[in-house]
Subunit: 301 residues, 2 copies
């Protein structure tokens, strides 16, 4: 598998006219693209105006409180439908994601499991833990790579980024980085503050197997470890184990498709920024870089 094939798996959505725009209550902003199967369920909802190719929140939902309650009720109702058993009932997280329009102020808070049905942007942080070549035993760059627990509902047993997590309300980015680094890897706040660096953001248009649009924005951080000492002690059960893999192994594992696809994309971005994947050794370099940084067609945070 080439690196471009990994990107193609993650940035896989192409808009077609069967999708519906999810519109704000004032009709001005487009908040997401809803797939036609999901759109059918809105026909039974009196709080939305359904047109040929848009689903608009009714104008009366003119405060965030009213909109939160609207989507809360929608989620609670839909999760009892047999059609949503898998995605909503089993996937329910009791975690709120924020939709923006377009300001730093939230427009509506939506249960994480419901937000992915609505084709709105979800945000997260992905963190690359690495030991630079100067301080490894063999002068090769190494990364701390976890294997996802076999009991995870999605991508069990696949390789992951050192730490990653969704940006749930009301947590900020910085706070989420600190929180996830502790929960998933047992890294102390001081260590994270002193060794992590914001390095960019990736954005891509994912098409799910059931043809839904899932645009994701993942803020990228690198954490530099001083040496190969293992200071990682997972606090939750997200990862089965962490291995310190060197660059050649990582490149192999990427090509063998052992990484959860969007984590593969994050590693590819890391290897591009650190000069391991270059325009001279990767024929699809330009396409890869630009496809990892899609311009989002909705208001964003």
């Amino acid at each position: 598998m080439t690196f471009l094939e990994i990107i193609n798996k993650v940035d896989s959505f192409v808009l077609d006219s069967s999708f519906y725009d999810l519109k704000s209550h004032d009709g001005i902003a487009r908040l997401g693209y809803i797939n036609p199967d999901i759109a059918q369920f809105f026909k039974f909802e009196s709080s939305f105006i359904i047109n040929e190719n848009s689903i608009q929140i009714k104008p009366e939902f003119d405060t965030i409180e009213k909109r939160n309650e609207l989507f809360n009720q929608l989620g609670l109702k839909w999760k009892e439908l047999p059609e949503f058993d898998e995605l909503l009932k089993k996937g329910w997280r009791n975690e709120l994601y924020v939709v923006y329009n377009p300001s730093t102020e939230p427009y509506v808070l939506i249960e994480r499991a419901l937000s992915v049905l609505l084709g709105v942007i979800t945000y997260g942080v992905h963190i690359n833990g690495y030991v630079p070549p100067e301080t490894t035993s063999n002068n090769k760059l190494k990364m701390w790579i976890p294997k996802r627990s076999m009991t995870k509902p999605t991508y069990p047993g696949m390789l992951d980024n050192t730490v990653a997590g969704g940006l749930g309300y009301p947590h900020g980015l910085h706070e989420t980085v600190i929180k996830e680094c502790f929960e998933e890897a047992g890294l102390k706040e001081d260590f994270v503050l002193n060794n992590s660096k914001s390095c960019g953001v990736v954005s891509y248009f994912y098409k799910t197997e059931d043809n839904r649009f899932q645009p994701e924005v993942e803020y990228i951080y690198d954490i530099k470890f001083d040496d190969e000492t293992n200071i990682i002690q997972p606090q939750d059960g997200e990862a089965e184990d962490f291995q310190l893999l060197e660059i050649d192994e990582i490149l192999q594992l990427l090509k063998q498709h052992k990484f959860k696809p969007n984590c593969g994309l994050v590693i590819i971005d890391f290897l591009i920024r650190h000069g391991y994947i270059t325009p001279e050794n990767e024929p699809n370099y330009l396409e890869i870089v630009s496809r990892c940084h899609r311009v989002i067609p909705f208001p964003t945070r």
Copy 2:
């Protein structure tokens, strides 16, 4: 001036229906977008098929040699027209740029000055020379910033990236980095090989003042200097002087619009990758990052 305003100056083109597709001789590939004023001049050219919204190279131009000769003749003829006095006659570089379709093999070679009239992609390298905070006198990141010569036809006196240059035929990227580092900054090949790193690529859609489309792809390299010693000795007259500026000054100068705009974009990309511009201190972070990495709608190298 905000950072987003700098990006808006560089990634400024929005396609409208008045533009013509420049099509390959087989009619399959779109190679560029030609503005309607330039398109008028093709009406006098018998080697092109003009349709309502496309200008196609005639099918008989089925080898690169024939196409090279076609565009060579076109350039020589047009540069004598008074309308192209500024852009072609004065701008003539005797340097060939490559258009691809879509493979690593060149499709046609076009004089640099003509290629920008045709709305095809041009490629270059931009190089950030920096001293990391660990090795500066005051523990602040510093960058070597040249001031463009007052005699340059474009953006005289503005600040630039440490080294930058177009990717002319038949030079490779690596070769261009070495060549430009020597010509513009007197940096020796050994030093560049040991201290430079490929770090990504930026791509953006520039609209010129006269409404032409100029999509640019700039491969990005960072060169790390060990300390603040000045080892820069310009060999050509491109730069008036080089100054070692520290991060706070650079941020100020960016906001005061002292950088040539696309060099400002490259510095913004650098400061994002190095953790100085972050999603927490820059409200338009996501838009800035994605707008610096446009997906190109043509075949690329």
